[in-house]
Symmetry: C2
Subunit: 256 residues, 2 copies
DNA sequence: TCTTTTTCTTGACCTCGATCAAACAAAACC
DNA sequence: GGTTTTGTTTGATCGAGGTCAAGAAAAAGA
């Protein structure tokens, strides 16, 4: 193994590990199904792309696997290449707030403190690209485009967080769920997937903890949207959107 | 006037302007009372510091002045040098969510889309350093430390946003207000100010819109914390913290 | 296949915080 | 000073969403 791939040496044993598929970092990302405007290594100039790729480490995780916990030493930055992940914070009594759901191309583990500010857990079978901070840091300094990419990713997350603060602080249960479905649909199209049906890899309980509601209210609100004819629910992990304009209207309190 | 100071040419007329104090950018920031670890130009190497300073533009704004509105073309990045600012998002029916209160050293206007994602409004007499995106962008590419600084600022905001999502989604009114006061106190100490009394430059209505509550609930909760002996309220814009450990405990639901 | 377990839905009731309303306090203006 | 305006507090009532409880429907084992 070439020295530049020797990132296993700098690995933080606190991070839990999944299985490692055989990969050849100097070739293009073979297991990576990402082709987005803004992920960590997309659209970098060719030699810088190769350079960044050589830093990475790929892992696959089973469903419901904890990748890292809030407070763990933040030794890596992750890019999700397939599957989906939830990020959450806990209160001491067990109350939970999910601060984000992630899909392929999304990056997580960004921090400038010592520890991760949230726990990251897979929703289903997922694979990640992992970049050790220790080797990524000097590379960021010498590859301005990479540093800019990191900034863009952080800002994108920040704007998403601000949007969710509006949901949590000022929207009704129905508006929150409509906003959530509309947002999932929009993000699916950004990944080149159809707008409908929307895949819901997370449980009702996860949706509740994301929207600041209880599972009962989430369930009742799904039923209500169904009765309004805005959605159909073929199975519990898919939602058909029958009327996206109306859904968006409902998400902003436009219609009662 | 030297060409490098000619940033007025690139000014976006949509941004509302305050009065411009006479200043000499090649000298050190004279009106800038910031001395923090992480503001936009603090702790840069001397010549880079001078270079970044030469890009800036200083403005003073009166209280309750709208610096920019959500959706305005994002032509500048701002650093608050004195006073305080609120950032908020609106729903079409007027419901408002304040996504952040800013104090000296804080940066706002970070985005990578065309428009600002929130409205920025002063709470009291405030002054800002303003950097035009157009001239800051190439500088960021050639000054890696500046780009890193921007990233750090975005990440700091992101972590603050995640924390507030936990408040909004999962905390009671009392826990939110206690968290808010504890957070203001901590940030004051980070700026080298005493922990108590905490200054509240914002109205009760602003606090309500920040915490996802109504003014009545905010007022009642203040009264309740007062009765518990945790705080004293000499006047409506100051809170004395009598028992910070208990306040923190209350903020996490530790005591009932 | 038939349990057993888990997740989701629905109903009945309750509570925290919202709404409505009035009194009070503090500025701002004359 | 007094009057108006605006912001804050307090009280009375209401309702959206939470809690508790019981079914229904998947999912996981056996």
């Amino acid at each position: 193994m070439n020295a530049s791939f020797d990132v296993r040496e700098s690995r933080d044993p606190a991070d839990t590990e999944g299985s490692r598929p055989s990969d050849h970092p100097t070739q293009l990302c073979r297991i990576c199904d990402i082709n987005r405007e803004t992920s960590i290594c997309s659209r970098l100039p060719k030699d810088e792309f190769t350079r960044v790729l050589s830093l990475r480490d790929q892992f696959q995780f089973p469903p419901l696997h904890t990748i890292f916990r809030e407070g763990d030493r933040a030794a890596h930055i992750y890019a999700l290449t397939s599957g989906s992940v939830k990020l959450y914070k806990l209160l001491s009594d067990g109350r939970r707030q999910i601060v984000g759901f992630l899909f392929p191309g999304d990056v997580f583990g960004l921090t400038n403190l010592g520890g991760y500010p949230y726990t990251a857990e897979t929703l289903n079978q997922s694979s990640t690209c992992r970049f050790p901070q220790k080797v990524l840091d000097p590379t960021r300094e010498s590859v301005p485009m990479l540093e800019r990419r990191m900034f863009d990713l952080a800002v994108r997350e920040l704007m998403r967080a601000h949007e969710q603060m509006l949901w949590l602080g000022r929207k009704t249960a129905q508006e929150r769920l409509a906003s959530f479905l509309a947002s999932l649909a929009r993000r699916a199209t950004e990944r080149g997937q159809p707008e409908s049906p929307v895949a819901l890899p997370m449980s009702r309980s996860d949706i509740a903890d994301f929207l600041g509601l209880t599972i009962e209210t989430v369930s009742r609100t799904f039923t209500h949207l169904k009765k309004l004819g805005v959605i159909m629910i073929p199975d519990n992990s898919h939602v058909m959107l029958n009327n996206v304009p109306l859904l968006i209207k409902l998400s902003e309190g436009g219609a009662e």
